[in-house]
Symmetry: C2
Subunit: 782 residues, 2 copies
């Protein structure tokens, strides 16, 4: 068992490594050539121009201004300075609310820590349960003297812990309720303040029943003409454009190469660049590059035209889904919240997601398939959680010396070498597991996609929920009760219901030091690593050095990244769980948690301001999930305390403690009823207010024009921009047919995002083309 | 353990008693003086006039026509003859669908019984597990030879049971799905075919926020004028009229006495009747009866007028709730399904229940109180289920000899007598328990009322759900594992999760004979007792003999009763549970279940046609609950089979069986998504169709007049009829202000119902007054 000084040493090491990360960051960030790595957000907002284009060459790469090294820590106050309202404006509500999760951690645990250190620690310290135990030769450490372990069996002092648990519960609930209320009002204010957006007027209709006499578009039109006669405006049918998307992607690549060679040619007019046609341009016939790519683009354009016609004209091209737009927000809110026909599996309506976050491939799934897919995924997730260790163990066995010798005998000579042998034996099994854990959120995301959610935010929320469960079972329980999740499951099934919390409860104080180390390694050092952005740093410089051909490429090489809600939030939840479980048991753990929340808040605030660029804005739609998971952590902590108490000769306290989870569940239901709807539905009053204001301000608004092409598959939009309205765009870049989703973050228009082919292409088309057209013209001039 | 012949004897006894009941019924029902006991439905429909008013006196009382005795069983084909469509027309959809529950029992269990008798019984019979067991001195009966107990430990024959369980599950699900679909379409057709009804246009709004400048009615009007500008029509605020209702009730009683004495006076003009003013008219000053009651009525009328003014004028009289009516069904459907404001606890809208089934006292509950009440009732029900035996035991101890001697020593002399002593010792404890069980549904109903549901159908559904759980724990589990529910809970908490189904599973084959007896006593004899209507029979004749003063009184003495869904449906569910649990284990039980379902179907069909008169019509809104409970019975049966198998040396079959509950849950979710909404929401398309048709047919309809007073508290309605529009009524009994809810069962207008003061008073006012006015006039003429 670790003593206080052991913990101190571990803390020192971790703080040191965190400090080294921070120092490295502080130095790297002021080097101009890293500017795009550490401040991409500002580039995307158009508020920062490339330092490479101005000043002397050397000062473009390294910073020799000694004053900036003196002020190397000034990013910390800078990160904290921006007020929340501005932050919402700058980075969106999703990011601002995400930061509040860390703040809640502080709000919950700082008072709890003060309380437990001023009351529980003295109570524990002045007991002498461990001294009595020592007489029976049970060893213990200093930390245990501060924990509940030091209180004698059956002592009345446990009532103090019980009262404290009440205080902790009430405080946590109080903070949670305030926060829920605050965030609900922030969300409503955010939605209310938004400019006119297509999704305010639009409803996604799925499972349109087939009609032998009409096309889907006509059928939709007729249906809503009849059933929403005063409000229906227009509709956009969803086309199955997966093949088309492939062709467009291909064409874009060709266009890129063409631009590259053209640039090369303009720099060196003497020789027209040539390419080899074979694999990766390494062999094959040599042809003129520009001619070749022009021909390729030509060919692809024709194919795309043909495919487009096929998709839009062909009966099978249209999916039985459509985006239906209404004349008023009120009409859309009504349609989204009501059932249209007596068959609840047809004409399913829901509030349309923002155009950027539509997950197009899932739009056509029929109802029965959804039920089956959901069931299959539940079962699959169950097996993933409890049996994931089996395939891992299989791969690990393959990755062993004997495994490799068997499956790939030709590698014998290599792996016989001592160094490689030791690498395989020492690292490979661990790496296999680590790789699995790194890819786990992605696997869960794929599972969500298979399940058929139509918006990226709902995909993320489902994946986050599953990741949380996985962590709960395999990290939290798995660490407390050693053994694989499957073994736990087996032993739990064979244990009685009141024995399970007891088994876990007993193990909790013992594992405190383990979790303290975990917090330091995973929390402190992990967060410090986040600010250094090592991967984007390396990738950007590699790309910049080897691949960047055009300015546009450099823009693309700059990967701002984003908060992947589904991968990060469940990990924060683990800290809430640890804090709440250990608050009445081992208060020593709390300062570590508090430091984590404070530090992470600082780092992520900086990153959100300077780096991350969210792909879409869900207006904090994920909050009910966050709230629910903190509540469940609270309930788990209460049940485990019951289990622990009953092993401490205080089984008579059970009735008093059982009240707590019941109250907590009641509180949760109250919050759910009181606030959740703000995150789910669109109240009519708000819609009516916005409608009325708009009618008063812009009586002659051409709404139909505004909504016409808002929900076209990104592939079609690209095409339209490029082919049909090519020239118009230059004249009037605010043309209604192409300005699609004006959001708060309009500055994104100044750049291209290609990171997500599904949601990220609503606006860039405009700009790409503008840039390209201008480039072409300047070439012509030359 | 009971042998086959024991069961045979028990069956004979029960069949005999059932036959005696039926014979008694057959004789009693053809006696004219019982006509109102056995055919009240027809009286209420106005299709049968009192036999007392025509023919010779003797034949009015007894039937001496021998031919009718020969045809004494002709009620059976008569009961089955009425086609379902006519039955719906005659008795409403609720009753027709209720009968289908019994039919489902037949549809599920007849094929299952055939299958299990042709496959499982031979398999069990030809095994010799019990013979082997006999060698080890384990006794067994003939019935066990037909059950799964006869298969040897670890035999491969268990795979047959396993396959059969699959077949049973699929068959049950198939029947359930067909039935859900059928009933959903019946409900939709029923709703579609209904005439114009106020609730189609009306939405119940609760939690209207207070406004300092406007009255509630104005506030509601303004809010809906703004937010539903094209559709809002009118509103009716809910008043707190509980006191007023008391006064009206009192006045009605006085009026009744007045009528009685007037009748007496008209029969015997010589002496004006006199009454004593003291307790129950037994002592006190003697005064002229008619003068006294006229004065009393006068006084009460004034009080009522004053109270009415107070309630409607006073600020505190209006509750923050209102019935809001719309111009179209579409508008009402939209408002009921949408959220009005950003605060989801204000302006709560829901589809208004039929005026008859509004539970007025609950309309004013604020949101927070609802959450708390719900939580409190959940906890209370938990304690009721698991600890109900504690107060019962306490009362039983009081009801013992020693208890009475202690608490009431003055009774000593009486209870010392041997006979009374033995009665107290032998019966009292049992009676205390029986009384509790009889009152249990009522207790659960009171709990539901406390919880704050606003319609009687939802009250009934909640009470039914709780009654089902209580039966499951205390009757089903309580019979299998002897011991109180609390002891079971304790032992379950201390058992492991996989041990619980095993413990129960093992006990199941042993308890088969007990449940067979239970089915015969509770099911067969109980149902046969139902047709005899012993309680209404006795009560009617007692009332008729002693209390009936006027023809109106006789109408009121005739208690048609109704199917109390909350008390009867959960008991049917017990038979589904028994059938599904025993189908793979002891197929011998199935014929008893089938006989129960068939017999009960017959009896209840007869009763529904001839006797019961439902208070309200919910259009089978309870069906999702019925479906859900059969599904849960199916899952319980599957889990118990897993437990049983694992004790039979077939633990390796568990994975195959575990799939079944998962599939069943998936099936349930599918059905829920596919059909449930038909029972919850009002689809827009249907509303639009009815609106359009109506506009075409009656372009000049005065909808406002129709809806004006539809949702007035019954007390006000009564008053209006009596005082204000007294004379008008005679002129035009179809006056819009008084014809409130035209339903399918308009024939109810011809009678008065006083059985329920909340929901049953929507129409009778008309008729009572008419009758009275006519009576008065005829007196005047004389």
């Amino acid at each position: 068992m670790a003593t206080l000084s052991d913990i101190g040493v571990a803390a020192a090491i971790n703080i040191l490594s965190a400090l080294i990360f921070l120092l490295l960051f502080a130095i790297l960030r002021i080097q101009p050539f890293n500017d795009r790595v550490y401040f991409p957000k500002w580039y995307l907002k158009g508020l920062r121009s490339s330092p490479v284009t101005s000043g002397a060459f050397v000062s473009k790469i390294a910073n020799f201004d000694y004053r900036s090294y003196i002020r190397f820590l000034n990013w910390i106050p800078a990160a904290l300075k921006m007020p929340e309202a501005e932050l919402i404006n700058h980075a969106g509500l999703d990011s601002a609310v995400y930061l509040r999760i860390y703040l809640i951690g502080l709000k919950i645990f700082v008072p709890i820590a003060l309380l437990s250190w001023s009351i529980l620690v003295p109570v524990n310290w002045t007991s002498d349960g461990l001294q009595l135990a020592k007489l029976r030769n049970v060893t213990s450490s200093d930390i245990d003297k501060l924990s509940i372990s030091n209180v004698e069996y059956g002592s009345d002092r446990f009532w103090v812990h019980l009262v404290m648990e009440y205080a902790f519960t009430f405080w946590t609930c109080y903070v949670l309720m305030n926060e829920y209320e605050k965030i609900a009002s922030m969300r409503l204010a955010f939605l209310q303040s938004e400019k006119r957006r297509a999704d305010q007027f639009t409803v996604l209709v799925r499972n349109v029943p087939p009609d032998s006499h009409e096309s889907i578009s006509e059928h939709v039109e007729h249906f809503f003409m009849v059933n929403h006669p005063d409000h229906y405006l227009t509709n956009q049918v969803v086309y199955n454009a997966n093949e088309l998307a492939g062709l467009v992607e291909e064409k874009k690549k060709m266009q890129n190469w063409f631009d590259y060679y053209q640039l090369k040619y303009t720099r060196n007019k003497e020789q027209r660049p040539r390419v080899k046609l074979g694999f990766l341009g390494l062999w094959g016939k040599k042809v003129d590059a520009m001619d070749h790519y022009t021909a390729e683009i030509e060919k692809l354009s024709e194919q795309i035209m043909a495919e487009r016609k096929r998709v839009t004209k062909d009966e099978n091209g249209a999916m039985p889904a459509a985006f239906v737009s209404f004349k008023t927000r009120w009409g859309a809110a009504v349609c989204a919240q009501t059932q249209q026909t007596k068959n609840p599996t047809e004409w399913l309506t829901e509030w349309a997601p923002e155009a950027r976050e539509v997950y197009w491939p899932n739009l056509s799934m029929p109802y029965v398939s959804l039920t089956v897919r959901r069931l299959v995924m539940h079962v699959a997730f169950f097996f993933l959680t409890f049996f994931f260790i089996i395939p891992i163990a299989f791969v690990q066995s393959l990755a062993s010396i004997e495994g490799i010798q068997k499956s790939a005998p030709f590698l014998n000579t290599i792996i016989e070498k001592d160094f490689i042998k030791s690498v395989i034996q020492g690292f490979l099994p661990g790496i296999v597991l680590k790789l699995f854990l790194i890819f786990l959120p992605t696997i869960l995301m794929i599972m969500s996609k298979f399940e058929g959610f139509v918006s990226i935010s709902s995909l993320e929320r489902r994946a986050a929920f599953r990741y949380y469960l996985f962590n709960l079972v395999n990290v939290f329980l798995g660490s407390i009760i050693t053994g694989s999740a499957f073994e736990q499951l087996d032993s739990f099934l064979k244990q009685s219901a009141d024995q399970i919390p007891r088994t876990i409860g007993v193990a909790i104080p013992i594992k405190a030091t383990f979790f303290i180390t975990y917090i330091m390694v995973d929390g402190w050092a992990g967060v410090a690593g986040e600010i250094l952005r090592l991967k984007p740093f390396v990738v950007f410089h590699l790309k910049n050095f080897f691949l960047v051909k055009t300015e546009k490429d450099r823009e693309e090489a700059m990967d701002p990244g984003q908060i992947d809600f589904y991968a990060t939030e469940p990990r924060i939840q683990l800290y809430f769980l640890l804090g709440l479980v250990y608050a009445p048991v081992t208060p020593v753990l709390l300062p570590f948690i508090i430091f984590f929340f404070g530090f992470a808040y600082l780092i992520f605030r900086h990153q959100i301001i300077n780096v991350y660029n969210q792909e879409y804005e869900s207006a904090a739609a994920y909050w009910p999930d966050v709230h629910g998971r903190i509540i469940s952590a609270l309930i788990i902590s209460q049940i485990l305390l019951i289990g622990l108490m009953s092993t401490k000769g205080k089984a008579q306290s059970t009735p008093f403690l059982v009240i707590l989870p019941i109250l907590t569940i009641g509180f949760h239901r109250f919050c759910k009823g009181r606030y959740e709807s703000a995150f789910v539905v669109n109240p009519l009053q708000e819609a009516m207010i916005k409608d009325t204001l708009e009618r008063a301000r812009e009586p002659n608004l051409n709404l139909k024009g505004f909504l016409q092409n808002a929900y076209i598959h990104p592939v079609f939009k690209d095409e339209e921009c490029e082919d049909d309205q090519y020239e118009e765009l230059i004249e009037d870049s605010d043309d209604e047919n192409c300005v699609i989703v004006p959001t708060k973050r309009q500055s994104r228009i100044t750049t291209a995002t290609s990171s997500n082919p599904n949601g990220g292409l609503s606006q860039p088309c405009l700009v790409i083309n503008l840039t390209r057209v201008k480039a072409n013209r300047s070439l012509d001039v030359q």
